[in-house]
Amino acid sequence: MPLSASSSAAYLQNTSPTPNGAPSTRPTSLTIHPSALFSILDHYLRRTDAQHRVIGTLLGSRTDSSVDVKAAFAVLHSETDEQVAVDMDYHRAMYDLCARVRPNETIVGWYSTGSDLNTYSALIQNFYSQETAPHQAVHVALDTGTEGGKGAGVKAYISSPVGIFPKPENCVFVPIPCELRFHEAERSGLDLLLSPNASPAQTDLDVLASALTDVQNMLNRVLAYVQSVLRGEVVGDKAVGRYLMDVLGTGVEEDGGWTAGLQDTLMVTYLANLVRSQAEVSARLALTSSA
C-alpha cells in the first residue's frame, strides 16, 4: 500500500556488502503506522506562528532490511538563518517516557514536515544517526499538502555521506519506498474515521448491512459492464472477463454442516438470552431480598 501517489522514482540500492563481509545494515524499505502519521499531522497543526516546519522523533522496530515506524513524538527545535537547535534533553526525556510503556520500540529516525531537504536536515540527520547507531537513521518527510503547488504525501529517506572528507552538514538523501501498514484488526477503526457521519455506537448488524450494500453496488457495477459488453456497446476486456470468471466461478459448495451450524447458532442465541434475563432477575432480587 504505497503512501504517495504515482512516483517515478527508481529506488537505487547499493547492496554490495561492506569490505569485511558483514551484511549491510542499510534499510531498503519503510512502513509507517497510521497513529504515527496522525501524530505528525497533529504536531503540524499545533506549531507556533514562528515555526516554518516541525520535527520529531520516530519510534519503531527494525529488521535487516526494513524499518517499521510505529509511533512519533514531537521535539522542540528552532531554525534561524544562522543556526539550528534541537532540544536534545527533551528528546531523551520523552524517549525514556515512551520506552517505559513500549519497551520494544526504539529510535529509528526523525520526521519533518515539508519536503525541502537542506543543510539543517543534514545536520539533524547527523544527530539522529548518532542516536540510532550502529543502525542508520531514517528520515520521513511529510508533505501536508497545505502549501501551494505541492500534493500531500510521505517520503522516506536514508542518508549517505558525500565528498572526500565527509562533513556533518553534507549528505545525500536517498529515497526508499514507504508504505502505510497497520494490523487488519485496526482496519475498522480507520473505517470509522473515513466515513463522515458514522457513529461508533452502531451495532454489528448496521455494519453488516452497509458492507452488504457495498457489495451489492459493486455487483451491480459489474453486471452493468457485462451487459453492455453483451449488447456490443463496449469492447470487452479479456483480462477482466477471465478475472470475473475466476472470482465468481468459485461457488460455495453445499455442505451438510449448514443445518447443524444453524442449530448451534440458534442454541447459542437462546442461551445468551437466557443468561441475560437470569442476570437481570438476579440483580432485581438482590434489591428486594431484605424487604
Partner: protein, 377 residues
C-alpha cells in the same frame, strides 16, 4: 491487585478541579457575546457529548492491540466547550506490576506528571479529561475501572469520562468506542462505601445503573480528513498489463472482514460466559456464607440476652439483685454485612459477555442465511 495503588497514583498527580485552563479565565476582558454561553468557568454546563479526535482513535487502537491482555489503559487529554468534551490527545500508561505497590504508585504518578509537562512544551493539550480502557467481549466492569473513575469524578472538572474500547468487536469489523461516567446514585453509595443490601436498595443500584453512557462522536480535523481521503483514493497502476485485481491500488483498500462467515469467536465467548457465571457463583457463595454467619452470631446474641433477662426476672422474683446487663456487642463479634459490589460487578460481566454473545450469534445467523441464499442451495 494494584487497583488502589493506581488510583492513588492518579489522585496524587491530578490537578485540582479548578486548574482546567479556560481560555477566558485569566483575562479581564469581557467574554465575547458569541462565546459567553459556550465558556463556563464554573463547569456548570452538563456534558452532553464526547468528541474523539481521529488521532486518539488510532492511538487507542494501536495500544489496545499491542498490549497482550486487556490491561491497556491510558489518559485522555482535551478540553470541554459548551457541553462537548473534546478529547484531542492521549497517552498510554505503563501497565502496573504487582511487585512493589508503593513504588509503582509513585512512579506512575511521576510518569504522568512528566509526560504532561513534556506535552505542554510542544503546545499539546495537558488537561486530563479522563482515561481509556481496553476490553474484550464487552465485559469492562471491574474494580480498577470503578475506583479510577470514582477518583476522577471527584477531582476532574466535569468528572471526566472513561472511554471503553472493545478489541474483539473491532477485530470483527465494527470499531467500538463508548464513553461512560458513574451515575450520581452510584457515586453517593461509593463515597459512603455503602454496598450492603440496604444500601443497594436505598440507592436502587443494579449493575445496569452503575455507569451511564454519554453519546460519543468522532471528529477528524480538516487536515487529517484530506490526508485520509488522499490515502483512500485508489491510484491506477502505471503498468498497462496489470491484473484487474492489482490495477488500482490505494493505501487504504476497502476491507470486508465483516462478511467473514466463520463464527470464530463464539467458542471463546461461551467459555467466558461460563467462567463469569462460575465467578459469580463463588462470590454469591461467599456472601451467603457471611450472611449465615451473621445470622448465627445474631441468634446467639439474642438467645444470650433473652436468657439473661429470664434469669434476672427469676432472681428478682426470688428477691436477689439482678445481674448486670452486659454489652452484647462486646461478647459477640457480629461481622459487618458483606459488600455486594463485587457480586454486582460480576453480574454485570455475565450480562456483558452474554450480550456480546447474543449479538455475535445474531450477526452470524444473518450471514449464514445470506450465504445460503447466495449459493442457491
Amino acid at each position: 491487585m494494584a487497583a488502589p495503588s493506581m488510583a492513588a497514583a492518579l489522585a496524587a498527580s491530578l490537578p485540582a478541579p479548578q486548574a482546567a485552563p479556560t481560555p477566558a479565565a485569566p483575562t479581564y476582558e469581557a467574554i465575547p457575546a458569541s462565546m459567553s454561553k459556550a465558556i463556563d468557568i464554573e463547569a456548570e454546563i452538563p456534558l452532553t457529548c464526547v468528541q474523539l479526535d481521529g488521532m486518539v482513535i488510532t492511538k487507542i487502537l494501536k495500544h489496545s492491540r499491542e498490549a497482550s491482555s486487556t490491561t491497556a489503559h491510558g489518559l485522555l487529554l482535551g478540553l470541554d466547550l459548551d457541553g462537548i468534551l473534546e478529547v484531542s490527545n492521549s497517552f498510554a500508561l505503563p501497565s502496573h506490576t504487582n511487585d512493589d505497590d508503593e513504588k509503582a504508585t509513585k512512579s506512575i504518578g511521576r510518569y504522568q506528571a512528566s509526560m504532561l509537562r513534556s506535552l505542554k512544551e510542544v503546545q499539546g493539550d495537558d488537561n486530563v479529561v479522563g482515561f481509556y480502557q481496553a476490553t474484550s467481549l464487552g465485559a469492562f466492569f471491574n474494580q480498577t475501572l470503578i475506583d479510577t473513575q470514582a477518583i476522577h469524578q471527584d477531582r476532574l472538572r466535569h468528572g471526566g469520562v472513561v472511554i471503553v474500547h472493545d478489541i474483539s468487536q473491532t477485530a470483527r469489523g465494527n470499531a467500538s468506542f463508548r464513553a461512560f461516567k458513574l451515575t450520581p446514585s452510584f457515586m453517593d453509595a461509593y463515597r459512603r462505601a455503602n454496598f450492603s443490601t440496604a444500601g443497594l436498595v436505598s440507592h436502587r443500584l443494579t449493575f445496569s445503573s452503575i455507569l451511564e453512557e454519554i453519546p460519543l462522536r468522532v471528529r477528524t480535523n480538516a487536515l487529517l480528513n484530506s490526508y485520509l481521503n488522499m490515502l483512500a483514493t485508489p491510484s491506477t497502476s502505471s503498468f498497462s498489463g496489470a491484473r484487474p485485481g492489482e490495477a488500482t491500488t490505494s493505501a487504504l483498500s476497502p476491507s470486508y472482514s465483516v462478511l467473514d462467515i466463520g463464527n470464530t469467536g463464539l467458542t471463546k465467548n461461551l467459555e467466558q460466559v461460563a467462567e463469569a457465571i462460575d465467578n459469580y457463583r463463588t462470590e454469591e457463595g461467599n456472601v451467603a456464607y457471611l450472611s449465615r454467619q451473621i445470622a448465627r452470631e445474631k441468634l446467639r446474641a439474642e438467645t444470650y440476652v433473652a436468657k439473661r433477662k429470664e434469669e434476672n426476672a427469676r432472681r428478682v422474683s426470688q428477691g436477689l439483685n439482678p445481674l448486670p446487663e452486659e454489652d452484647v456487642s462486646r461478647l459477640f463479634r457480629i461481622p459487618p454485612e458483606p459488600s455486594r459490589l463485587e457480586s454486582m460487578l460480576l453480574l454485570g460481566q455475565v450480562d456483558a459477555y452474554a450480550k456480546s454473545l447474543e449479538s455475535n450469534a445474531g450477526t452470524g445467523l444473518v450471514k449464514m442465511y445470506g450465504a445460503k441464499a447466495s449459493s442457491g442451495v
